[in-house]
Symmetry: C2
Subunit: 386 residues, 2 copies
């Protein structure tokens, strides 16, 4: 517990799980109680029920969320709870025969209040992968089911550093390094980032006070926690009004069961004005229309090639893992704590969504642009230049 | 849907399920959406997480319930939602090695606000059995697992009248009969009931305005629904101050995983002053100490031998089914709508718990006692005498 959500004695612990992840969920609940949790509130989301909804409910009702879903999340913040989320698609292809636009309209289990609570830093939280048979078969379709699950578990153990003698210490060393890069990058106060590679020529403005953040968060009450396990990224809040050019995704994106492949997005004046893909574009398009901020960027993250995920070459179809394999941007909600000036916090992007998609690879150069127009290499061939 | 919760177009439908009941839960969700539900909110309770809690958490924390659990139930009432609950023990014996007193302290998934919402008649609801392998093995331990599940499904289909050409009509006929008996019994305005049989000599006072209720409920908005499927009982609200004598249960009682066998309860002045059992007494004792009303009675129900459950001779270890096989009483919360005078409603029992236990059989005579002291046979050998 201490290396993840860092559950404190007396805390309520909310666990966001899914049907199919019962075994790991129960182990986490037991561990949380042993760490002194007052209550573990497990919410099992059932993607098959979501499928029944999208297939049968009135299309105009698909964005409805009962009032108590958001109320619960806000209460988790007010009551200074811990939150643990488990990723990994339990039912790949479940939505394949449904209209992606309708699938995209139902954003559960994600609720907009989560962003508010993350921004307020009132909960200590972590998100970690939970291997299941369904997910393993998606990631390793050429292996038989048992071998696929064994291989996925092995990879998850490796990237989470569970195969080292002291996983928490090994993670901690990597996090220290990422924090040092983030500090150097923050000092440079770049005005913009330029991404250049196959299919990508894209410039993204930063805020004057954009601060690069990594790996280790702290709540308003001083509880240090690791929000993502694993984590290989450093990220900040971009200027939502300045993004121009075309960016081609370097990995497929899984949107609650719909896989978006060959994504290409054109930005003008900060807005995604064109979203195309070889497959599944509708699911992202409908999400990008949810509100004014949904077509603008809330995050830019840089990932080097020294992490453990990229070198595996595995596409996990899971944002937590794939986003930590490659540099990425996110449509939607910004993390306000990644700006230092109140004026920049006010200008940072607001939305009900937050969807990361991968735009980095060893073939994509990342260059910092200063307010004077000087160009400074940041990533070349996946290696830090600063 | 129309014969159960009677889901209305545009309603939110809350489904209270458990891990292990996914298949039926998903069918119900799909059916509710086809009936026009606006949203189906499935809550899967996980008894293994509850086990982890009882085994690891601080004993004094076991009655804690997060604020949003009750808030959600109250919102279901305020927003005039439908509610569907699925019974059947998915994990028999799961709590067998734990202290029954500790197990009894954690009353989830039951929350006290449910009684309030039922009493206010703001939701149309039903509770129905969901056969699972775990439950089948408990009920039919001598059969192999597949045969046990087949047999349980067959029994459930039979008692729910799913094996008739028109299940809703067949249920409706039985419910009409029960309602006619209830009306005759209400007219008699008995002052008390006397139960007499092996190990039982027990007198229970009724309220001046106690009204016998059965099978078919109606919300404040006029939505007719069947709260229990199946239902073979007629019931009313007793006087919580008048219960005297000893009553021996005629069936085992399953309390969230702890089975209470050979239960014997002695009442004095309406209060359960002695709770003994061959097995599991602690689980009931700790529940009866939860609040002042928990040791007093909130329901008395009469069941004849013409229903479909009793003749099977099967013990289901499930209150929904077993209570409809035999006359019973319930410790705890009363249904205020089963009294007509405001003064009686005010006096009816209030508690966070409502636990039915079976006290009837063909060997137990039930006699009505008038205010003048006259004795009128009600049930003899399981047959109605009025």
């Amino acid at each position: 517990m201490s290396a993840g959500a860092n559950v404190q004695p007396g805390q309520i612990v909310a666990v966001g799980s899914e049907t199919g992840k019962e075994d790991l969920t129960r182990e986490i609940a037991a561990a949380a109680y042993r760490a002194g949790a007052k209550f573990v509130d497990v919410a099992y989301f059932d993607p098959w029920v979501k499928r029944a909804r999208v297939a049968n409910a009135a299309p105009e009702s698909l964005d409805f969320v009962p009032s108590w879903y958001g109320d619960r999340v806000l209460a988790l913040g007010d009551q200074r709870c811990a939150r643990i989320g488990l990723t990994g698609n339990v039912a790949p292809g479940l939505m394949a025969d449904l209209d992606p636009t309708l699938v995209g309209r139902d954003m559960l289990p994600s609720v907009k209040e989560s962003g508010e609570v993350v921004g307020a830093r009132t909960t200590n939280w972590t998100v970690a992968p939970a291997p299941t048979q369904g997910w393993a078969t998606l990631v390793h379709p050429d292996l038989d089911p048992g071998a696929a699950l064994d291989k996925l578990w092995g990879e998850i153990a490796h990237v989470c550093r569970l195969d080292s003698d002291d996983p928490a210490a090994t993670l901690g060393e990597r996090f220290d390094f990422l924090l040092s890069v983030a500090a150097r990058l923050t000092e440079r106060r770049f005005d913009a980032l330029h991404f250049e590679g196959p299919g990508t020529d894209f410039t993204l403005g930063l805020m004057p006070s954009s601060r690069w953040v990594a790996a280790r968060f702290e709540t308003v009450d001083g509880i240090v926690h690791f929000p993502n396990i694993p984590s290989e990224e450093i990220f900040t809040t971009p200027d939502p009004q300045r993004a121009d050019g075309v960016v081609r995704s370097t990995k497929p994106l899984d949107l609650s069961g719909t896989v978006v492949r060959g994504l290409e997005v054109r930005f003008e004046g900060g807005r995604a004005v064109d979203i195309n893909a070889d497959e599944g574009a509708g699911a992202l398009r409908s999400r990008a229309e949810v509100d004014e901020g949904a077509a603008r960027l809330g995050e830019v993250a840089l990932v080097d090639r020294a992490g453990r995920i990229g070198p595996l070459g595995t596409i996990f179809y899971d944002t937590l893992l794939d986003e930590n394999a490659a540099s990425h941007v996110a449509l939607g909600r910004a993390y306000p704590f990644a700006c230092d000036d109140e004026a920049d916090v006010e200008r940072s992007n607001v939305s009900a969504i937050h969807i990361d998609f991968m735009i980095g690879s060893e073939e994509v150069d990342v260059t910092g642009v200063t307010t004077e127009g000087d160009r400074v290499p940041i990533l070349r061939g996946g290696d830090w230049q600063i």
